[in-house]
């Protein structure tokens, strides 16, 4: 009985994996197609990659996407962290009120936020462009950062920060040396969410960007009219980069741990000898 169950489990697991990854694999395979078709594979070729690298609009859109995501992540992480810490020390009413206001943009449909931003910038007669897009991204990233830091703060023992102050830390030192290290994981995951939200955002970017500034999503959407494997090549590169980055983040600390472990063993042995 138990055995049967585990085969079923495994089957189910692989089905889910296939469901997630089959479309991505399909996209990657057709990026190497030698013809323009997206459904009929006629041979291996790198022509769509070549075309992609030669296309200035695509290259610029990659650049804008990355630059925007990096700036938005950095700024929203700093603002979000400071706000979350400040809120954790505030009175209950303020805390509740700000949390509600903070949650609203996440529940609000993107298109409403997007149109809101567009009308806002237009009514102030600000020419939309890269700056307005980054500002909008920062704004919609902050709630996610705060959301991932707040639970971490709640588990903190308030006495530790007080102890730090008692033992001669300035408030800034207490923040930097005591509070921040304890909520590090929350900040990190908040930043990661912010980055991925900003990286693949379409609707808000479309309405807040200006002439000559596209991100990858806008470019892909505008080109679905007569789609060709260049889009597949672009998507594949993104998949490759993200996979590589994920492997590096996960593997590097593991190697470091192992090395540390070995060194410790050596030291221990040396001491014993």
């Amino acid at each position: 009985m138990e055995h049967k169950n585990s085969t079923l489990n495994r089957l189910y697991y692989w089905l889910i994996i296939a469901f997630f990854y089959a479309p991505i694999i399909y996209v990657v395979i057709f990026s190497f197609n030698s013809s323009k078709s997206l459904t009929n594979f006629s041979g291996f070729s790198l022509r769509w990659y070549q075309k992609m690298f030669a296309d200035r609009t695509i290259m610029e859109s990659i650049w804008y996407t990355v630059a925007c995501a990096v700036i938005a992540t950095a700024v929203s992480t700093v603002i979000g962290t400071i706000t979350a810490i400040g809120l954790s020390k505030s009175r209950r009413i303020i805390k509740e009120a700000v949390t509600q206001v903070n949650n609203l943009p996440m529940l609000n449909p993107d298109i409403v936020t997007a149109i809101g931003f567009m009308l806002f910038f237009t009514s102030l007669r600000i020419q939309t462009g890269f700056t307005t897009m980054v500002l909008a991204h920062i704004a919609f990233c902050i709630p996610y950062v705060m959301l991932s830091i707040t639970p971490k703060l709640r588990t903190l023992d308030p006495n530790i920060a007080e102890a730090a102050l008692d033992l001669g830390c300035t408030p800034l030192q207490a923040l930097w040396k005591v509070i921040i290290p304890q909520i590090k994981e929350g900040i990190f995951s908040g930043a990661l969410v912010a980055f991925s939200m900003s990286f693949d955002d379409f609707v808000i970017s479309l309405f807040t960007t200006g002439p000559g500034i596209n991100n990858i999503s806008i470019y892909v959407y505008a080109n679905v009219k007569r789609i060709n494997p260049t889009i597949n090549a672009l998507s594949s590169i993104i998949v490759f980069v993200i996979t590589a980055v994920l492997i590096i983040i996960n593997v590097v600390p593991m190697i470091r741990e192992r090395r540390k472990g070995k060194e410790n063993e050596k030291n221990l042995k040396g001491a014993l000898d």
Binding site: T128, N223, V224, N228, V241
Partner: protein, 365 residues
């Protein structure tokens, strides 16, 4: 986090640097835009996949200028962006959208003195432009075409489809083997034309008749409503009949020899996409130069050959239809047929039709 961003930044910077421009190498510098006009950057907003790879680099070289090139997915998205205050110098919308922009005072007049290449445009296309811009004050044609039927010669008798035209869509012999186009405007055009009415009608009875026509079409052939999947679908021969734009049809015909093209005898929609300059353009002088540059023979030839839509440039069209697109009837849509029409902008009609269209789409299930 920092590390990732840095890695991404560096890799994208490397990519950006190695991405070389695809200039055709033919062009020489003819002018220094900064010296001549006091500005050297223009923002161009065009439909996606609608320009040859060499056009922008060539123009930049010829005028020592910078072109910021953006693409839109539909005329409506473009309109929304304009409303949002985006400032462009050259737009390439369709006929009815140009009509709308003109009526709302959002376009500026072209400088005819700079447009020295206009005489290269064929009279037929000028005639189509005159429908929405009679004096040619605002728009210069970029691509044009029609809507028709692509069919598989092996499974559909050419004589029958020529004879029946749009009415073949009511023939249940082809049930489950037809692609319809998922667009309110195009499908009501088909229905109105099939019934012998004008596609620009505002007569309620005619519109209701068209609605009934579409319902009976759904019943007879249960078509698959698609948009861009139709191109790949017909190249692979998944269906026997499809409603398609001429430029897409030209591409399908070059890829699959079994496919043929017919423009129904009841008449169809002739459309023109044209270049215009918005009234808030910051550098109209260079924008005029860009338009003039794009209608020239060299650019139109490259553009049309690469994209597959029909060029308004007379010489380029003649050469391409005898060369690259020889035997591809869809490359040269018919002109001067009295039952063919250009679509006009009519906000009330669009609203009325959209309600009926929803019901048409629902009746398919």
């Amino acid at each position: 986090m920092k590390k990732i961003s840095k890695a991404l930044l560096i890799s994208s910077a490397v990519i950006a640097m190695t991405g070389c421009s695809a200039s055709s190498g033919k062009t020489e510098q003819v002018m220094d835009a900064q010296k001549e006009f006091g500005c050297s950057t223009i923002n161009v907003y065009n439909a996606g996949e609608y320009i040859s790879e060499s056009a922008i680099p060539d123009f930049e070289k010829a005028f020592n200028a910078t072109v910021k090139y953006d693409v839109f997915e539909s005329n409506e998205i473009m309109y929304t962006k304009l409303m949002g205050g985006s400032a462009y110098d050259v737009l390439v919308p369709s006929d009815y959208m140009i009509e709308r922009l003109m009526s709302e005072g959002m376009l500026q007049k072209l400088n005819q003195e700079q447009l020295t290449n206009l005489d290269q445009i064929s009279d037929d296309v000028i005639g189509m432009r005159n429908v929405f811009d009679p004096a040619g004050e605002y728009a210069v044609p970029y691509f044009w075409g029609s809507v028709g039927l692509v069919y598989n010669k092996n499974n559909v008798d050419p004589a029958v489809i020529e004879e029946k035209g749009w009415d073949i869509l009511l023939d249940s012999t082809y049930a489950g083997r037809v692609y319809a186009y998922d667009s309110q405007r195009d499908m009501f055009m088909v229905a109105l034309k099939a019934l012998g009415y004008s596609m620009n009608t505002s007569d309620t009875d005619e519109i209701n008749a068209a609605y009934e026509w579409l319902l009976s079409m759904n019943k007879a052939i249960t078509p698959a409503y698609v948009t861009d999947e139709v191109i790949d679908g017909m190249i692979n021969g998944n269906m026997d009949i499809a409603i398609m734009y001429s430029g897409d049809a030209a591409y399908v015909l070059t890829e699959n020899e079994d496919m043929a093209w017919v423009e129904p005898k009841q008449g169809t929609n002739i459309w023109v996409d044209a270049m215009v300059i918005p009234s808030n353009s910051a550098c109209p002088a260079l924008a005029n130069e860009f338009i003039n540059f794009m209608v020239d023979y060299d650019q139109q030839y490259a553009n049309s050959e690469e994209i597959g839509y029909s060029t308004p440039n007379k010489k380029a069209a003649e050469e391409l239809s005898a060369g690259t697109y020889e035997g591809i009837s869809a490359y040269s849509p018919r002109t001067g047929y009295e039952k063919d029409e250009v679509f006009h902008f009519n906000p009330e009609m669009t609203k009325k039709l959209s309600d009926l269209w929803t019901r048409v789409k629902m009746s398919i299930n």
